[in-house]
């Protein structure tokens, strides 16, 4: 029988939750890297026992750890993220020029094909690649050097490159997303980049047709259908059927179209999950009810999933990297909250149960099906 390993990054360390394929009885290990912010912890699809952890603190900066034995032991690898050349400036919150400064790694994306290749999305927004399993890092500077780079502005959480999608059928194609610059696509392995934000609407920016400036919170792609993308934006849930060239809103009957994570059922590419949040000024679920919403038709028609989730007095948030799905059938869905709960649904969202309730605020949740 398959087993499941859930990798959880929190405000005060990492945790590893394991269960068999029934996803009922869980073992909890951790905290690893106790006391540090773990923005992301993710395993390699080509070698599941190889796991990367992004460990950072305001005091001591960025550290990258790698495990080669499924999280049993960890070693420090490379933490030298140097921007190519003279980095120049981007826009600060008030529109003034601000120097590009490395802060931390938000997201790791290990290659599905090459065991030693891993990408890192960082703040201030840039994409790095390692060909030696995280020992050394080189910037794919064509992204930051895009002609719009000097216009990019941070979102409230910082100017982070938070999403990296690798097309499993086309190794040259990479999608990224940056708050609050927007989504970008490369068709040449990260050498050059194109903003793909046509159709997005963002009230906060003066020019609705601006090439960049949209606060994209998260992108999702089903590996069997890499031309179709889903997006949770600052406002609006969006869909593109042409590799990001055009976007249409599919928020439909959601109670609010603000939120952070978005993910897709492993077995059904048109089944999409989001967690609506009240608004950009109220980062908690509407009416104090924690509800995952599921669309089985690729958007517009959404149903609330509440069985096992708190339906009163719930004021947690679910951050952009804090939702994941496993590869079993029915698909398991997992998400973590800023209140320290990690929930699992072993049946595609119909029923939910807390695996743990009292972790530090959860930043990220990833799942490995072993």
């Amino acid at each position: 029988m398959s087993s499941i390993r859930v990798l959880v990054g929190t405000h005060k360390g990492a945790f590893i939750l394991t269960a068999d394929g029934k996803r009922k009885d869980w073992k909890v290990a951790g905290p690893f890297f106790a006391g540090w912010d773990i923005y992301h912890i993710k395993g390699s699809p080509s070698d599941p026992n190889r796991i990367y952890a992004s460990q950072s603190s305001a005091w001591f900066g960025q550290v990258v750890h790698r495990s080669d034995d499924g999280g049993a032991s960890w070693n420090v690898v490379g933490n030298h993220f140097a921007y190519d050349g003279i980095p120049g400036t981007h826009q600060w919150y008030d529109g003034t020029p601000h120097p590009w400064e490395f802060a931390r790694v938000w997201h790791f994306e290990p290659s599905p094909h090459h065991r030693d290749v891993v990408y890192a999305g960082v703040e201030d927004a840039a994409l790095f690649r390692s060909d030696d399993a995280g020992v050394t890092w080189n910037e794919l500077s064509g992204l930051r050097d895009h002609k719009t780079g000097s216009q990019w502005q941070p979102g409230a959480g910082g100017m982070c490159l938070h999403t990296i999608l690798l097309d499993p059928g086309n190794p040259q194609r990479i999608f990224t997303a940056i708050s609050a610059a927007g989504a970008f696509r490369s068709d040449d392995s990260g050498g050059t980049w194109k903003p793909i934000n046509r159709g997005l609407r963002s009230e906060q920016i003066p020019d609705q047709n601006a090439e960049v400036g949209h606060c994209v919170h998260r992108l999702a792609m089903h590996p069997s259908r890499p031309k179709v993308l889903f997006m949770q934006k600052h406002w609006d849930v969006m869909r593109s059927d042409d590799e990001g060239e055009h976007w249409v809103e599919v928020s439909g009957n959601l109670p609010t179209d603000f939120g952070f994570p978005i993910d897709i059922d492993t077995n059904h590419p048109d089944t999409v999950f989001v967690v609506p949040i009240t608004s950009d000024s109220q980062h908690f679920p509407p009416e104090g009810k924690l509800r995952v919403y599921r669309s089985r038709v690729g958007g517009n028609e959404w149903e609330p999933l509440t069985n096992g989730l708190p339906q009163e007095h719930c004021y947690v948030n679910v951050l952009r990297d804090a939702m994941a799905v496993d590869a079993l059938d029915p698909c398991g869905v997992y998400f973590g909250t800023t209140g320290g709960q990690v929930y699992v649904s072993p049946d595609g969202g119909d029923h939910w149960e807390a695996i743990v309730r009292d972790l530090p605020a959860v930043f990220s949740v990833e799942v490995q099906t072993l």
Partner: protein, 99 residues
């Protein structure tokens, strides 16, 4: 030998259990050369105390020794004699801050 006291998180990262570690350093050791020797022995501490490119101390890190704050001294100056002689430790301190 210079006695160095690391903050708890950096002791964990370096894999040392003792509150003090001893670093070989020449008689004219400075903050720069001492931190350099520390990073050479514990490469996992690179960039955690100072920026490896600019040498700039991280904002939430302070250096104390002999009841003095050395954080803003010229990092190329020779350390106090008592530190070099091993009579007083060199303290690397994470600034007091919540969170």
């Amino acid at each position: 030998m210079i006695r160095v006291v690391l903050p708890a998180h950096l002791r964990t990262l370096a894999g040392v259990a003792e509150s003090e570690i001893c670093i070989d350093a020449p008689g004219d050791a400075s903050i720069d050369s001492l931190i350099g020797a520390l990073e050479l022995r514990f490469p996992q501490l690179l960039d955690t105390i100072r920026d490896r490119t600019t040498g700039r101390r991280r904002p939430f890190v302070r250096y104390f020794a002999c009841s003095r704050d050395l954080s803003h001294d010229d990092a190329r100056d020779t350390l106090p004699h008592a530190v070099i002689a091993g009579d007083e430790p060199f303290l690397i301190v994470g600034a007091m801050a919540g969170g």
